[in-house]
Symmetry: C2
Subunit: 283 residues, 2 copies
């Protein structure tokens, strides 16, 4: 099994984002483990992975990434890191004992975030519901295809205040196009609910309503000394929907491979705050 | 310059879709030029191109494709074909005289469809607004960045009846996430308008309204004996939004590269009807 990391070196990020890295460090100086994230998932950096790579680069978070076609090396998993990000990463890529290594790091204070997608939670083929992550994540995964698509969109709606949700215009919420369905564990906190929109045209006018069924969209918890985050939707198209363009300003972030990503500033702020939060130990 | 076609042979399509090909042929028997489409654009068949490849395969439309990184050969352009599809295909890939060859075929009865994207119309870098297609398409392209993103979505709303719009549940319309803006030529017909949604949360409840500014989304016209279609949004994520999941049934279409695409049945019907329509000569 080959191990592949993208050629984005930590040095490159440090050099390119000195100012934002400084801000990041100032925010986490008390309880940071190191200044490195391990990002598993999405495909190459010109596609789905461009979004999270762009945000981490823009926010000044150094990271290493293992793309969805590759398995991590045991050496990589033993590096100290602030948080593990799993985003559309097939469960079968993890070799025996590797998820246990991650869980052990989380117990000792590393954060763990899972973002939605066809290869997350249960997903298309059955992924994480029978792994040790079922114990660690703040949600209970379904035991069947949990993918839900919405041709009329799902609004993101805050349930309580939280540092991940700060400084964002929730009075004009974005929509997403799909999600993985799961239920919340008793000790977890739901931060965002997903409210499916129903739009019907009657006699030339549109009637708008919200479905009575809602979906937990962003849930946070703790496991040992580590923080956990589960996001039901995808960080990238197509499920991300209009969320990726949320904000009145556009951010264009160059990537080291010569590509770039163009996103809304509120989308970038949301994920930057999420990553900063999950990268800290519990108090 | 290398010319590359995907390895989807016409024979393969014929064999795999005998029944739907028969239906397709029955529908176009009077005024079909041949039974081949030339599809320019999108990236490899596991990504953006999977959608249109999936629909054409499912509908039984034989096609050859030139992906967005490649230029067509002159030989390919001289094959008789029912219609040219340009979907997110960089203008600069066309060599000198090639767009003129396409236009000449359209004048003689081949259809021409352009679908939206960062490499369509004006797009990100300036694409087709100064080419001969400005004369042929039924819309007037902007002379500046025409990309429009909507974090709260844009509803698709029919303006008049048309074979492309038949048999679809427009009373429960899907949303898209973005589009290229253009204006309509006097002789063209707008079939679909895009209505941007405004959602605002006030005192815990959501107020829904539609913006007064609307966008032409689907426009049809004629050029010589050829039919022309312009779609403002993308056939693929991210602009396609929830449109790709429109329909109560899911269609999973295997692709010859071993991949597959999963889409809503109403989305598939829309594009199948569009392709059938544009593949016919004008009366």
């Amino acid at each position: 099994m080959t191990t592949h990391f993208n050629n984005l070196s930590t040095d490159w990020v440090l050099q390119d984002n000195e100012r934002s890295l400084k801000l990041f460090r100032e925010g986490v100086v008390d309880n940071v483990l190191s200044t490195m994230f391990l990002y598993f998932g999405d495909d190459d950096m010109t596609r789905a992975a461009a979004y999270l790579c762009g945000i981490m680069t823009h926010t000044g978070i150094p990271f290493e990434r293992v793309d969805s076609t590759q398995s991590p090396s045991d050496t990589l998993l033993q590096k100290p890191c602030d948080a593990f990000i799993l985003s559309d990463y097939p469960r079968e890529r993890f070799q025996s004992g590797q998820l246990e290594t991650i869980v052990s790091a989380v117990k000792n204070g590393a954060g763990l975030a899972m973002f939605g997608g066809w290869e997350s939670y249960y997903g298309l083929l059955g992924e994480y519901h029978e792994t040790i992550l079922a114990e660690v994540l703040p949600v209970t995964m379904l035991k069947a295809d949990d993918r839900r698509n919405f041709s009329q969109g799902v609004l993101l709606s805050p349930v309580q205040t939280h540092p991940i949700l700060d400084n964002l215009p929730w009075e004009t919420p974005p929509f997403v196009g799909g999600l993985n369905e799961f239920s919340i564990k008793p000790e977890a906190k739901v931060l965002l609910n997903g409210l499916p929109l129903s739009i019907r045209k009657n006699d030339g006018r549109f009637d708008f309503s919200l479905d009575t069924k809602t979906y937990p969209m962003l849930v946070v918890g703790e496991y040992g000394k580590g923080r956990t985050v589960t996001l039901a939707t995808d960080v990238a198209p197509h499920w991300v929907g209009g969320f990726v363009d949320w904000g009145t300003e556009r951010i264009t972030q160059n990537l080291p491979n010569g590509g770039f990503v163009e996103i809304g500033n509120d989308y970038a702020t949301f994920f930057a705050q999420l990553l900063r939060w999950v990268g800290k130990k519990t108090a």
